[in-house]
């Protein structure tokens, strides 16, 4: 699977499900079809994966932005700051 396919699959996650993870750090499966763990930071995600018995080398860690989050490189906008 190419990363294009992986990211395309991520984009097809139903909105109702995606909304559950706004502002969370998550791990996607390698197909990009399912979020398999979430947490407040990467380490929480890692611990959740371990508890659930997932291979932590076979997922992609990322962050699900809030829909109106403005990113400025390493920074982020005041709306997101207030939400975190």
């Amino acid at each position: 699977m190419t990363w294009d396919e992986h990211f395309k699959n991520r984009g097809e996650l139903p909105l109702a499900e995606r909304e559950r993870y706004y502002g969370k750090h998550v791990a996607w499966n390698m197909d990009g079809t399912q979020i398999v763990a979430s947490g407040e930071d990467d380490f929480e995600v890692f611990q959740a994966l371990k508890r659930a018995g997932y291979n932590t080398e076979q997922v992609v860690f990322t962050y699900i932005p809030l829909p109106d989050e403005v990113m400025m490189g390493g920074a982020f906008g005041p709306d997101e700051e207030n939400a975190s």
Binding site: D4, V60, F61, G73, G74
Partner: protein
């Protein structure tokens, strides 16, 4: 290697996008390997960042002990000065379609809950020629002669 920009949808029209609700970001997956394991992580290509930077919460995941790591203060946009601790890791980049590279790099870890790890100049952009193709919403990365790693 070609990577399409990652897209996100806002709840309403974005003035800076001419009323569109969709934003595009040059986020690509990188594999980072430490003493205990490797992990794939989305990272933001950031031409404004001097270094490759991860949050410190990421260090124990790959088995890095930062307690004795060299450190310095760095400025992080929107956060002011923070302590950044540095460690050596192996980075791996693949387009998933047959082109894969790995190399050693010294990357920073900061105690700030920022969102995507940053792929800045030292350790990443210095080794690649990057063409940001805004209209096509993709970035083309090509290793340059200074690339210290190998094609896998």
């Amino acid at each position: 290697m070609r990577f399409r920009y990652f897209s996100g949808t806002a709840s309403g029209p974005l003035p800076s996008r001419g009323g569109s609700r969709v934003r595009y970001r040059p986020v690509i997956p990188i594999r980072i390997t430490g003493p205990s394991q490797f992990v794939l992580h989305d990272c933001l290509l950031d031409t404004g960042a001097d270094d490759v930077v991860f949050p410190t919460t990421f260090a124990p995941i790959i088995g890095i002990d930062l307690s004795q790591a060299p450190q310095r203060m760095i400025g992080l946009a929107g956060r002011g000065a923070v302590v950044c601790r540095y460690a050596s890791v192996k980075l791996w980049l693949s387009d998933g379609a047959g082109e894969t590279y790995d190399w050693n790099a010294t990357v920073g870890f900061v105690p700030v809950p920022f969102r995507n790890a940053l792929l800045g100049h030292a350790g990443f952009l210095q080794f690649f020629n990057a063409e940001f193709r805004g209209q096509d919403r993709e970035v083309i990365l090509t290793t340059n002669p200074s690339f210290p790693g190998r094609r896998v």
